[in-house]
Symmetry: D3
Subunit: 249 residues, 6 copies
């Protein structure tokens, strides 16, 4: 497998260059501008006291997410969903995925009756926007929680974050499993899988789709191996970025 060299010079098990610009926003309680190669996603975390009505009085917090693409983040300009007056299925699907992924590593009791809204806006798209969004959103979330702790909105001993979480795409191209697909690879993939994994290596989401021919169990296993390789590397990066000092410093 390692003999294959991809169009952009990577080996099959290699991530694109990943950078996380923590504290990008002057406005949000937490933020990160993340790049997976040419894919750039601005992630902000907005902290507010209180929870939606249906959670009120539960003593628990809430974390939710919204994903969107700028109209010219892609090669051909897309119409704005605000102009169309409705949000498309893909947008809904990814927003829900990001929300679920982050909630999986948050102890809602420890968060208390507070809400964190994550916004992931794709500034430039080159494949893997949802996985970059999850990975960057975690950093924004962590900083928003730290901000709330400093402001005493959550207790000094509360540990709302149970673990880190990151995500990566994997796929089979011409029969070969590949890690972190760029757009040109994504459109050619027979099978496409997005995997969300905690820092401890446990699965939060596994979403595999046969775009071409259905896949068998051994292909599924190869893809999962590759994905775990990628998320392990991303977790290391997340921790390094967060250890580098408070956001904005």
């Amino acid at each position: 497998m390692t003999d294959i060299i991809r169009k952009d010079g990577r080996t099959p098990d290699q991530l694109r260059a990943v950078t996380i610009e923590r504290g990008w926003s002057d406005q949000a309680e937490g933020s990160a501008l993340i790049s997976f190669g040419k894919t750039k996603v601005l992630c902000t975390a907005s902290f507010t006291n209180g929870v939606p009505r249906w959670k009120s009085g539960s003593g628990k917090g809430w974390v939710t997410a919204e994903y969107a693409m700028l109209p010219r983040s892609t090669n051909d300009r897309m119409d704005r969903e605000s102009v169309k007056g409705r949000i498309g299925g893909r947008t809904h699907e990814i927003s829900r995925l990001i929300g679920r992924s982050l909630r999986a590593v948050v102890d809602m009791k420890a968060l208390g009756e507070n809400t964190i809204v994550i916004d992931c806006d794709v500034l430039q798209a080159d494949g893997g926007t949802r996985t970059a969004a999850i990975t960057g959103a975690y950093v924004a979330l962590a900083d928003a929680i730290e901000w709330a702790r400093e402001k005493k909105f959550i207790g000094q001993r509360s540990q709302p974050l149970l673990d880190t979480v990151s995500a990566v795409s994997v796929g089979i191209i011409d029969g070969d499993p590949m890690l972190d697909l760029a757009y040109v690879e994504d459109v050619r993939a027979e099978t496409d899988m997005n995997v969300v994994v905690t820092g401890r290596g446990l699965f939060v989401e596994v979403q595999g789709t046969a775009e071409g021919a259905p896949f068998d169990r051994s292909e599924l296993n190869s893809l999962l191996d590759l994905a775990l390789l990628g998320t392990t590397e991303l977790a290391v990066l997340q921790n390094a970025v967060l250890a580098a000092g408070a956001a904005g410093e």
Copy 2:
């Protein structure tokens, strides 16, 4: 594992009673009213000549699907999406899943420039509505294709169906993997997975979500084993129903 008996008397690896009433509709080219226990989904397949503009001239056909729930299919009445004026994320997500699942077993070249729209309307919901929908939709699709062959809209030798396809939910409840979750089980599941499988046993979709704690690789494997057990049984039933004579006879 087999010692566990579920609330409704099933063993962990047992499907609910599944029935398929083929040719339920007098109007549609193909149809099936499918039940997974108390879950009832009416699936219709509407065949029309021609394809959407973006496929026109490709020589290939198109299969798409829409899923919806009647407002009182559930225990508490839900507002209609037509009244709210927008389709929710969950509805979008499931419609897209059904469409992808069916397209995975259709040879679009053999279908020719024809379109089949699948409608899956949940008349009663008790968990597993999306998996029942996929399983029933396959039967409606097969009959719509047979209808088109008889009407000579597709050639006598064309074989647009490459395989059967069915789906089932699996989940982990109190640490135990279970097949085909009813609603009361679904809300308690720590991990919830929907698996779409072809008649040959290949995966079309694997969508696993940690609702509670993240899951490890061995749990994932147990769930996949269980799912394949279920879809094998469903494929046998689909074939039996379709072999029983033309719809409406």
Copy 3:
């Protein structure tokens, strides 16, 4: 007039085969699957405590209805109103008609501050969907009220139902008045009338429309005679179905 035999073998003053499957739904407080020939409408009644804000404190209840058609209930598939993002005029008109018709036989004081929402979903359409909906909705409504009495949400001596109510279509085809038009008759009718009548034979709604030539007073009278014949028969059936034992038994 009785010498005429219609396409489906009926005499001009004959209803189609009418069946009412009471208690079809496991979820709703009252329900009925009604058929007028090939027209099939699933009617559910959802009971909730409390009333909309504008009725609050009045001591009176509220009954409202929503009507919709499944996309492939008709011969050609219709787009979903949820997908179009707006409800059409015909749907609105029929929903309002059903609601008014049922409210005409409900004593809102006796109902108390409770709300019953009726959903009428057309599973298959062959003319007369609104009249079948009203006729079936009455049965669902009666069972929901009975359910509420058993649950003590309304008093044991309260009699919220003042009378039964049913509806039928009539029309003039080639100059001849006909009862309960099937779709092929409906499109040919010069005049089309929907009549809603209580068990005592009083009018709740009379909606006559000249689709072709305007009609005179004697034609109007013949149509009303025919309609009363039909609703009398439907009232007998409603009472028989409701007398047959509690729903679900």
Copy 4:
């Protein structure tokens, strides 16, 4: 019956003061500002060559109507439907009624492949807005057809108008049938009926609704008698107004 004097001094069988200001608009091909007492409706008829796609090539024309109320036409300000983003059921219902009523007196063949859109905008509402709208719309329609004849868009010998059409409301208040209900009467009526009648005295629409107790056949007959009295008077007025010289002169 004639002994009763209503709040505004009318006898039960008396219309309110009706005025028709023909040619009110400088822009529309036909127009009329009609008053039924304090109810004022601006009716315009817009003539365009061509028909909607579904009528194209049929050699027949099309007439359609839209009804709306200004937000402060009523005693309490209503929200604009444009602001709410959706048209209410009542608006839809009345727009459809106006369109059907006018089409009943138009020979679509004689109109040729031309479209007339009628707009009825209620400037002030005091009951009977839909009946005033139909009555005024007929005048606007007649002038638009005359305009098209002068412009040679329809042949000199074509007679697209088969008859006049007008409408009036009737109702039962405290047991007494009354003609042309003002708003304060309308809210008290037990039964409310809108009747659309041609110049020859034939029915186009009969829409009777029991707002309180259901009504019997003899009440229905009294209401129809009264309605025919009113529409006869309105037809005389329409003819007088149209005979008074071309619009705008």
Copy 5:
């Protein structure tokens, strides 16, 4: 400049015939039907106790406005915004302009926690609809405030109106500045400016747009001179109309 005679016989610095029919509506607390030549706008002011939630408890009132055009107010019929399901940018822009213009002359403290909603509906359009709307809306507003004073909803000594306000359009056509453009002039104007001015001659809004070539400072000054001429005349008319006795008398 005064040698130029416009198509409709006006000199460059001449307003069209302006009429204000005060108290046009029987329903609204204040109203005016204003004409600028063929442009006719119905302005109503609806007074209600209380303010929107975000102003509640501030002791201050609120004034807002909505502008709309009837579909056939223009030469070609426009689709209704209620039918399109969304309000266009131009409508939004003008509604906001009218609201701001009126708020500029209202002392919100003196108004107290009361809301006045201004509706400006264009019945006929021939250029200058927004400026006619502002000018007429002021009269409706003044009467609604007077009504509220009589009803004691605002104190006898409160003077919520700080000044009058009116508006006019000016533009450069073939190099010549012109006052109060009719539609045929408006479409030819190289520069188009709407100016809102108080009775004391102070600016509330200045909105100048180069439709063709950009304009220089001296052109801007000529346009402002002309606009002040027009608004001075309009203020005189407003005062005369309001001095003529209470609305409705």
Copy 6:
């Protein structure tokens, strides 16, 4: 005037630090990330062959713009317009302003039947987003035109750009005119004006609004003086950035 020092250390006639990152996007034909202090707007220009239907065959091109804010570009998170399902009045207003401003410096004949869509997405907001958007959009537009010239979509000798265009806000705070208001200044301004000016110093748009007390002619003149100062400086910067070599180099 020059003695006054603002909160952020600027003199009244001083712009904030303005930076333009040309060619920010790898996808768009032209792009610029512009900052006015903390305000950051991503401007992209999308070039496509052909024009909207209503311009087709005219031989002229079209330039249009859309403006939007990221939900957490502001201090408090705003709801997304795509989620609300409708675009607000302010968004519409600014999109239209940007489009008009750019069209004022484009020779549509020279552009030929091509369309350029400008997207201005506010990544961070601190006042002056619309003026930053116009200023940055010009740079993106210029590069898209250059790109089209290289691709031969427009002739080598065609000069679609007639001039540069930039914009700045000015306002009166505590009686003092100030240039380029930051958000904290903007909310305190009595009068607020946005001025769009070409490189030659001609006005494209002048939009002045009295937020508090109306303003007089001499205040208007001071604001225009200040604005011209600012736009002159911005034009110099635009030219410098565009002279620095092709985008992406």
